[in-house]
């Protein structure tokens, strides 16, 4: 029976990537806080007037202050919801567009790599996480290109002739080893 302590730890699925989710969370928080501040400023200003006006007007045909401020509150709450939700929706659509653009470029770059183009930059854009990801892809591609070019030049040098049989055999075996290291 296997000892669970000796088994290698299974890689955990990471749900939180602060570089990607962090800015989104901060942007949503900014929208909510801004919406709340505007709501507070507007409603506070209106409450200062509406209850004073009601006190001066007389004819108190209401049971509570809620009866006076009901419509005002309802409209401002509806405005708060609409404002925050619409701004949040725009942010979601921007996030989706940025992801589609950034990852789309990475996908195009990998597809081009499969067709042999390992040098054209990925160009994922200037958004932090995607930019970093694009750089990683470019680094992997350029390393592959470097090793491919090395193999090519070595193959061409060996094919040119003028090498002693012993050296040729040695370099032939080295070349095979180098080829084996591509995409292990």
């Amino acid at each position: 029976m296997r000892n669970p302590a000796l088994q290698p730890a299974r890689p955990r699925i990471r749900y939180v990537s602060p570089r990607f989710q962090g800015p989104a969370v901060l942007a949503f928080a900014a929208i909510i806080v801004t919406g709340g501040a505007i709501f507070w400023k507007l409603v506070d200003g209106k409450f200062q007037q509406v209850f004073l006006n009601a006190a001066i007007r007389g004819h108190y045909a209401f049971n509570s202050a809620y009866d006076i401020g009901r419509d005002l509150l309802a409209w401002h709450l509806a405005g708060l919801f609409a404002g925050v939700f619409l701004t949040g929706s725009v942010l979601v659509l921007l996030l989706v567009a940025a992801t589609r653009h950034g990852i789309g470029k990475a996908v195009d770059s990998l597809r081009a790599s499969a067709d042999g183009d390992l040098s054209t930059p990925t160009g994922t854009g200037s958004i932090g996480e995607f930019d970093r990801f694009g750089e990683k892809i470019d680094a992997a591609r350029s390393e592959t290109l470097a090793s491919v070019l090395k193999i090519r030049s070595e193959a061409a040098a060996l094919a040119a002739g003028g090498i002693s049989p012993e050296e040729f055999r040695l370099r032939w075996d080295e070349l095979k080893q180098r080829i084996r290291r591509i995409a292990p």
Binding site: V25, A29, W40, A65, V92, V107, F133, P184
Partner: protein, 185 residues
């Protein structure tokens, strides 16, 4: 019923995912506004005193009394909405962040030269074409590698004959490989 999309040509982010995110945000913000309404409702719905003078004074003093309640209720709303939206962002966006993180690990693994397996994401993850494009690239490289090694092995078979034929075949194989490698730029 729509046909399944061919592998690698699927959308990076599905519309259903975006609509799901918007719907959850809508419910989340509506919940926040609902809580704000409840707090303000309980603050405002206290019955006013019965007599005329009592109502007058109560209404006159209500605005300064409501100011801190309003501030606290907006603060509660902001904290609750921010907390729940953050949780929602983490929960929803991990379907993009998770695969992205996994691809970063795979790229690091590739660069380190360690043996790799085909990359696959979880079923409900977004950006699936990324894994398919990467697998296609690695697949092409592996296919080329096998082809070059086979060419070399084929040339080595001629070494059972005389030395000159062996060398000529090997040089021919190397020229062929160099030509094949020329497609990489």
């Amino acid at each position: 019923m729509s046909d399944p999309e061919p592998a690698g040509n699927g959308p990076l982010i599905h519309r259903r995912y975006v609509f799901g995110l918007l719907l959850r945000l809508c419910v989340n913000f509506a919940g926040g506004v609902g809580i704000l309404f409840l707090i303000l409702y309980f603050a405002l719905s206290r019955p006013l005193p019965g007599d005329y003078a009592g109502v007058f004074h109560a209404l006159r003093n209500l605005s300064p009394f409501l100011r801190p309640i309003l501030a606290v209720s907006v603060l509660v709303y902001a904290l609750l909405a921010c907390g729940s939206t953050s949780a929602l962002c983490v929960y929803i966006l991990h379907k993009v962040a998770g695969p992205l993180y996994r691809m970063e690990l795979v790229l690091d693994q590739y660069r380190s030269g360690a043996p790799m397996r085909t990359v696959s994401f979880r079923n409900d993850d977004q950006i699936q074409p990324l894994a398919q494009a990467f697998n296609r690239w690695i697949g092409t490289l592996r296919h080329d590698r096998q082809r070059w090694l086979a060419t070399m092995k084929d040339a080595e078979r001629h070494c059972l004959q005389d030395e000159a034929t062996c060398r000529a075949e090997m040089e021919g194989a190397l020229r062929k490989i160099a030509e094949n490698l020329a497609r990489y730029r």
